[in-house]
C-alpha cells in the first residue's frame, strides 16, 4: 500500500471528493496563496500547512477561495454556502483562532438544523490545525477540541494517523452535519499506509489500537503514538493495555471504552488539552457514571496542566503529556 503523510492523506481526500462532488468548495486564508500581490506564483502555498495543495489549479478559484484574514466571515460564509446547497470546507488555520469565529461555529452552524426544526442541513467542514510541540507559544499551540465537543450540533473529529485522517475526512465531506476536523500539527508529516482510492471511516467508532488485559488507555491525536510508546515500554514488565483511540469525540464511542473497562477495571485517559472540562474529564465522568462497577481503581487523567502553553522548549516539553508520564500513570493505576 502507498505510504503517505497525514498532510497528504487529507489532501488526497479533498482531491478525490472535490472531483466527485462539484458542490464542495474550499475557502480560507492562503488555501492556495498568492492571490494579488506582485508577480509571484498564483498557487504559492496550498495552505500554510500544504494541505490544500493542488486544488486551485485543478478546481479553479470559484471553488478554491482565498480570503482575507477574516475568520468570522470565513466560517459564516461556509455556513451560508451550506444553507444554500454547497458543501464548504473552511480552513481556520490554527485551532487557536476559533476565538475570532466562535459565534459562527457554535451559535450559527451548530444550531441551524435544530433551530429551524430540521428543515435544513448544514454540511460544512471546518479544518483546524492544533496542538503543541513546535514552540509556537500560547496562541498557536492549543487543542481547543474540548470546547467544541461540548457543543450540541457539531461533530468533532480528531484523527491520530494518516489512514484515519483520510477516511474520516471523506466521511465528513459526505455527511450532512457541521464537522470540526482537528489536525495535529505534529502529525502532519507522520507517515502511514494510505490507499489511493476513496474510503470512509464512520464517526463514533473508536479504533482499538492495542489490545491488552490490565489497563484501558484512551488517547487522542498525538497522544496515541505517545501512548503506544508507553504501552510498548510496559510490555517488558508484563503489563498489557487496551489502547482506544475514539477518533471522534462527538459522537463519542462510549461503548468501546466501557467494554474495555469492563475487562480491565482500570482506566487512564490521555489528553493534550488543559484539564478542566476536558475530553479527559468527560470520559472519566462518563465512566464514573456508566462504568463505575467495572472500575477497580481511581481513574488516572494525563493532561496538560492548567496553564497556557509556554514558549520555551523546556517548558513546552514539560507541558505536553509525555510517554514517560503516560507510563507512570499506567503503573500508578495498576498499584491501586
Amino acid at each position: 500500500m502507498p505510504v503517505k503523510s497525514m498532510r497528504d492523506a487529507i489532501n488526497d481526500a479533498l482531491h478525490l471528493e472535490m472531483a466527485r462532488d462539484p458542490s464542495i468548495i474550499v475557502l480560507g486564508e492562503d488555501v492556495s496563496g498568492g492571490a494579488g500581490g506582485t508577480s509571484g506564483e498564483r498557487e504559492a502555498s496550498g495552505g500554510i500547512f500544504g494541505v490544500t495543495k493542488g486544488l486551485l489549479p485543478r478546481f479553479g478559484d470559484h471553488r478554491v477561495i482565498d480570503t482575507p484574514i477574516t475568520e468570522s466571515a470565513i466560517i459564516g460564509a461556509a455556513g451560508g454556502a451550506a444553507l444554500a446547497g454547497l458543501r464548504p470546507v473552511a480552513e481556520l488555520m490554527f485551532a487557536d483562532f476559533v476565538g475570532v469565529s466562535l459565534d459562527q461555529i457554535f451559535n450559527q452552524l451548530a444550531k441551524f438544523r435544530y433551530m429551524f426544526g430540521g428543515k435544513t442541513n448544514c454540511p460544512a467542514v471546518i479544518r483546524l490545525a492544533m496542538g503543541a510541540g513546535m514552540n509556537m507559544g500560547a496562541q498557536h499551540s492549543q487543542t481547543m477540541y474540548s470546547m467544541l465537543t461540548s457543543v450540541p450540533g457539531l461533530k468533532v473529529v480528531i484523527p491520530s494517523n494518516a489512514y484515519d485522517a483520510k477516511g474520516l475526512m471523506i466521511t465528513a465531506l459526505r455527511g450532512n452535519d457541521p464537522v470540526l476536523f482537528f489536525e495535529h500539527k505534529a502529525l502532519y508529516p507522520r507517515k502511514g499506509e494510505v490507499p489511493d482510492g476513496a474510503y470512509t471511516i464512520p464517526f463514533g467508532e473508536a479504533a482499538l489500537v492495542r489490545e491488552g488485559e490490565h489497563v484501558t488507555v484512551v488517547a487522542l491525536a498525538r497522544m496515541v503514538p505517545f501512548a503506544e510508546k508507553a504501552i510498548d515500554a510496559l510490555a517488558k514488565d508484563g503489563i498489557t493495555c487496551d489502547l482506544i483511540d475514539p477518533r471522534t469525540t462527538s459522537p463519542m464511542d462510549e461503548d468501546t471504552i466501557l467494554e474495555s473497562v469492563e475487562n480491565t477495571g482500570r482506566l487512564v485517559v490521555v489528553d493534550e488539552s488543559n484539564p478542566r472540562c476536558s475530553v479527559a474529564s468527560d470520559i472519566a465522568g462518563m465512566v464514573a457514571a456508566r462504568g463505575f462497577h467495572s472500575l477497580k481503581a481511581p481513574v488516572q487523567l494525563v493532561t496538560a496542566p492548567h496553564t497556557p502553553v509556554p514558549f520555551a522548549r523546556e517548558l513546552e516539553r514539560a507541558y505536553v503529556p509525555s510517554p514517560t508520564r503516560i507510563e507512570a500513570a499506567i503503573r500508578a493505576v495498576m498499584k491501586d
Binding site: H62, G76, G80, A82, L86, D103, Q104, F112
Partner: protein
Amino acid sequence: MATPPIHPTTLAPLTHEQLLRAYRQMKTIREFEERLHVEIQTGEIPGFTHLYSGQEAVAVGVCELLSDADYIVSTHRGHGHCIAKGCDVVGMMKEIYGRHDGLCKGKGGSMHIADFDKGMLGANGIVGGGQPLAVGAAIACRNRGNGTVSIAFGGDGSSNQGTVFEAMNLAVVLKVPALFVWENNGYGEHTGADYSVGSRDIAGRCRGFGMPAEVCDGSDFFAVFETMGRMVARARAGEGPAAIEARITRFFGHFEGDPQLYRAKDETKRLRESMDCLKIFRARVTAEGWLEAGELDAIDSEVLALIDRAVAEARASSPPAEADLYADVYAEY
C-alpha cells in the same frame, strides 16, 4: 395581469398586480405585528419579541425585487423579512406561539424563523450573525452563475459589528452578489445610531469598503424599490456587492415590554403620523390613479381575516411533543 405596467419608478415597471401585492405584504406585516403587540399581553406567547411595525416598506421594497431562488438573511427583528419573502403567515404565527406545527416546529421561535423553500435562510438572535452567512449564500449564487442574489438585512446597531465589516470586505474581495440592506431606525436597543455609528454615516462607511451605497427613505416603498433595484440589477449582472441605507423608524420598543425611556414621550405617535409607509403608499397610488381606494380596502379586510385566522389556529394548536426535544440536532449521529 392584463393591466399595462405602471411606471412609478425610473427603474422597473410595476404591474398592477405587483402594486397590490406590495400593499398586501406591507399590510400583512403591519397587522401581524400590531396583533402580536396585543396578543403578547395575554402571556400566551413565550420568549421575547421584536416587532417590525413601521419598517414594512423596507422588507417589501427589497423582497419585491426577489424570487424564491434569491436568498435573504434576517435579524432578531425578522417577521417583516419573513413575510415579505413569502413565508407562510399562519406557520409563522404558530412558530411564535411555540407550536409543533410552526414553521420551525416550535423550536426556533420569533428570533429563528427560516423557510428554505422561499430562500429565507433564517432570522438571527446574534446581532451581526447573518451578514457573513449572506456572503456564503452569495458565493453559491455566483458559482451557479444564474444571476441570483443574496441579501443581508441589518440594523443601524448591527452595522457596527465586526462580523458585518468582515462580511462586507469579503463580498467586495470575492465580488459576489451580496447586498447589504441597512435599516437605520435610529436605535440599537436604547442607544442612538448617531452615537453608535462613529461616522454617523452607514452608507458612507459601506463605500469605504469599496461598494456603492445609497441612502433612501425607508418609509417610501417606491424609494426602497427603486434604490435597491439598481443595486440588485448590478449584482445580478456580476458587478458585485452594494448596500442601501434605508432611514426608517420602529413604531414599538426594541422588544415587547421596552418602556422606551430613551425616546421622547410623543415620538412614536408623531412618527406614526409622518412615517407610516402604508399611508404614504396609499396616498401615492391613489393620487397617481394606479390603484383605487376600494382595492386597498379589500386587501385590508383580507389581511385582517388572515391574521385573525393565524392567531386562532396558533392558539388552537398544540405544543411539540417532549420527544421532539431530542430530534434534529444532527442529520445523523
